[in-house]
Symmetry: C2
Amino acid sequence: MLSSTNPRTGESRPTGIAACTPDEADRVIRAADAAFEDASAEDRLWRAGLLDALADALDANRDELAAIADRETGLGLPRLTGEVGRSSFQFRLFADAVREGSHLEATIDRAATTPLGPQPEIRRMLVPIGTVAVFGSSNFPFAFSVAGGDTASALAAGNAVVLKAHSSHLETSRASHAVLRDAAAAYGAPDGLIGIVYGTEAGRVLVSHPLVQAVGFTGSLGGGRALMDLIDERPRPIPFYGELSSLNPLIITPAAAVARGEAIADGLYGSFTLGSGQFCTKPGVAFVPVGEAGDALVARIAAKAADAASAVLLNERIAASFDEIRDRVTAGGTVDVLAQGVVEPGAGFTAAPTVLATTAAELTAEATEEVFGPLIVIVRYREDAEIVRALDAVPDSLTATVHSEASDAGAVAALVRELAPRVGRLVFDGYPTGVRVSWGQHHGGPWPSTNSQHTSVGVSAIRRFLRPLAWQDAPEALLPAELRDGYEGIPRRVDGVLQLG
Amino acid sequence: MLSSTNPRTGESRPTGIAACTPDEADRVIRAADAAFEDASAEDRLWRAGLLDALADALDANRDELAAIADRETGLGLPRLTGEVGRSSFQFRLFADAVREGSHLEATIDRAATTPLGPQPEIRRMLVPIGTVAVFGSSNFPFAFSVAGGDTASALAAGNAVVLKAHSSHLETSRASHAVLRDAAAAYGAPDGLIGIVYGTEAGRVLVSHPLVQAVGFTGSLGGGRALMDLIDERPRPIPFYGELSSLNPLIITPAAAVARGEAIADGLYGSFTLGSGQFCTKPGVAFVPVGEAGDALVARIAAKAADAASAVLLNERIAASFDEIRDRVTAGGTVDVLAQGVVEPGAGFTAAPTVLATTAAELTAEATEEVFGPLIVIVRYREDAEIVRALDAVPDSLTATVHSEASDAGAVAALVRELAPRVGRLVFDGYPTGVRVSWGQHHGGPWPSTNSQHTSVGVSAIRRFLRPLAWQDAPEALLPAELRDGYEGIPRRVDGVLQLG
């Protein structure tokens, strides 16, 4: 039997959940695939209604779900209640997108004679892929877990989903799954459309299973690499959408340090300690100019950290890694501990907010190893050229942030040219944490995002779980409704011309 | 020095081309990357003009290019002249798409207060990725080679390109590259934007090079797997867009065999022998009903093959593989040689059009190994259930084709449900060869297409070489023009609503 641990106390209790055997996992996958086939008979609006029903169910069970998650994650009720709301918001946004229909990329090229001769009719749209495996992440027990964006976008695309519950919040996963499963059943969805498995071995079965068509994963680089290796061993590889850590550099120009030093210090402190620093968008390294204004800014951050109490981390492994990697980063002699919060001894898994300091001239790749938790590396620089050189020691990231003033415009443009190839989102005068869920959001980027072309937050996340299919000279009865002549209500491209429908 | 072989005679002649050393390849890649940076200052319409200029130059040199290719490929002047036209058509179609601007997926979410609280402004569009490596294929010396669709789509996206010349048509590659390079220079493009390397080692350097951001490859499964292994060894993996063979099943219903048996026999014979059967869309296996009409159809195909002269193949390796795989397929005892064309002894590389026959009940995976060249496996079936079972022995493909009559509608719908998950394009009452170049074309599919979500023919091929980038609360001056307020002339999504611009 698997157990659940309260990170505030370190105490474990039995969950009554057993790790799935490979046979059990296989049955869950086969049931999902059968449900996918059955649900394929339903139309787009049915699918949108399903997403809305799941959103309503999450809202109706919000307080109960948050309470279970609080016991397992220590993230606190306000954050967790809000996160359930974020999950239901995501389901509703995808429902809107499914109704709108652009995601189908419906395209009709009528038969024509071109400079290359007579050409057949081609109609194309994106279609679902089948059963998608979704691995829940530890740090978002709702919005990137069982009820998260991968689940919502895979279902929005028309697929079935099999979830791998994260070992760090098994009871939250079970309860979230029950809410989704029951709501889907009440809506009339076929049994098995949203399945769940527990345990590491079941996770391996998922990524190797011939009926699984894609994998969504948010977690460690090591865990992601291990799953990618399993996928490489498949006779037929499948897409792996992994988000495997991020350092998120943040740059403060001298003018910004002078004009808004205190506000930036407060904002930056809030951002790297938010959720105990357990966000993939946490700013892990900040470039601060040398000089008086930079000194004051750094001092203010350091003072805040020194006064702070230890923060609860999600689990024992994350707490152990925090200490281990912090020690490794500071072992080289070029990175100093500038400030550290109050270490409170106790049974739980905690870390004290920590500010490390180094210089751009001395920045090494070793100093930019990601520490998951409330830690930031402050890098002091003398001139922009030092930042540009130092960026080579910073891994590519989900985001980069620049704080500047209007007077910096030219220098900022040059910095942005350096930053843009390295990230998926550029943030100006703000903070990378708190990722907006919207049509245009992009939460991805170059490696270690494993698929640099896709996002895991925002409407275009659906694209990961769709594939194009073309019909050449098809009888109308065999076409999907959205590709038939006269269908209205979604944007379509006809003979190269986009029409709003 | 590398040599060029005339497949009609087997005679080699020196080309004066040396295989690139790793250092030389590195210099070509660095020059491309520098040119990419320089060209990034230009706008979208400049890029469209470049594509048009390249198209014009191909047309102006059409006859000269076709003559060189004829000597190296044996494909014949009519086909090769047409193929140059196909290449220039592709460049112009991508120029149109770049002007239209949908490929940017420009999206603006204004700052707003949502149920999740106050949200920042997010603007997103697709941006080029940098330098793209393109491996030319043997069977399309223009349309899938130096002047091919991968080159055109990577340039359309705003990237630089480094080509790996195919060893089977080195002089065609050199001449094609010279035409493109000179036209780009005359247009004012920076030197090195379209680079070329020669030799196997240079190809390895390409896929391993840190400045190369994606690889387009059309070729053998073995060659593709070897490149994918190299990419897996990179510290930062990159997308690999490979098209690595396809069997393209074709099904003829009993009613179609009765109604149009002769026409289908003629069409199918033409399709599997077109270009000496050297197309990734060649129908390699055809399901024909048992009975009189099916017998007559098969007899007609067999008679055509038996009367046919040997066809010239592209090179010695393809000719040797043709014999070797044909022998392997027929060695099991369940596949018979029904007809074989006249084998003409001679110095060139040739294969006789060949018709093999088996039954759906006996069809094995061994019998469906792809034979590149003019060979088809006829599979006789008694009922649709036999086809459905036999399809499990057929690898997933770029296309599947059904020939039917209106009276078959129900049975065809059931067959299409079986075929759709296995392919990227469904063809009705036609043939899979002759891929239309258009907005809606999809030339891809499940593995062995390595990226099941993308196409290598048609406008959406651009998507492979772009990536999303989001700007959060960016000063207007730092935004690309297409994302600024008031920009007109391209479709954009503003606050979730698609606008034609």
